[in-house]
Point group: C2
DNA sequence: TTGATTTATTCAAAAAATTGAATATAATGT
DNA sequence: ACATTATATTCAATTTTTTGAATAAATCAA
């Protein structure tokens, strides 16, 4: 397989050429997230998220870390985000407005539970709050 | 057609996901070049170069300017080169070593002839120098 | 107009990406 | 061991990209 600089650059861009994968990277902008979180945040089916994560993982743009049942993904090199920033500037994007902030989602993974738990007493308690 | 920021970014990356197109952009790094020049520099068939130029042109990454028989292409926004630079840094590239400097090629277009003509008397004179 | 030169387009076959559906794997609790 | 939950992989149909071959279009000179 050819592997000169241009070929590797092309492969990198090839990995980034998909809106769902860009959305995932944006979701990981502020740190690692578990798959269920990405699923809820982006509104894709689980298998679909895993497929796209696999593409990003094989390209070594993200790396995974298992914690019990959950797998957390994070970006390997922050320069990847610079690439996205430059691209967004080029196409005249509206900041990161398209993707919700990674925390604004009702995911029940331990991490999200911890973050929601500002007043609750138990981590395992299901969220029974009524929107009012 | 969807046209949010992520989709537009993805389209940009899609345009950049090909080594030949990256090579063309690198060749245009130091200013406009005619098609015959790119052809000689990159060693691709003429039709192939035109095809890839068309892709870049439709994505508005380059713009063309006709001058007689020749068509000169140039990069529309210098930020595109930043994108390439960041990508190369990410994949651990060897600077721009893969693509020859755009002027080191025996193209007979008016521009190249002018550049070769440091001592010659005629623009139309073919280069008869012997490497010694 | 004819011919030469430069560049662009069209078409089709092959290769690769996309995506849904089904299924597999891994970790945990009972 | 079995069930449950979270995540991953495989497979196949569809769509898109790639690339060569042929041809068209534009410009200029005679």
């Amino acid at each position: 397989m050819k592997d000169d600089s241009l070929t590797r650059q092309a492969r990198l861009f090839r990995t980034l050429m998909h809106p769902a994968r860009l959305a995932i990277l944006e979701a990981l902008r502020n740190g690692e997230q578990c798959v269920c979180h990405l699923e809820a945040l982006l509104g894709y089916r689980q298998a679909y998220v895993s497929q796209q994560l696999a593409v990003l993982r094989k390209a070594q743009l993200i790396i995974d870390r298992r914690d019990g049942l959950n797998v957390f993904y994070r970006i390997t090199q922050p320069e990847i985000l610079s690439l996205l920033d430059t691209a967004r500037a080029l196409v005249g994007g509206t900041e990161c407005a398209d993707v919700h902030t990674a925390t604004e989602v009702d995911c029940l993974c331990p991490k999200c539970a911890r973050e929601h738990m500002t007043c609750s007493t138990s981590v395992h308690q299901v969220d029974h709050r009524v929107a009012e």
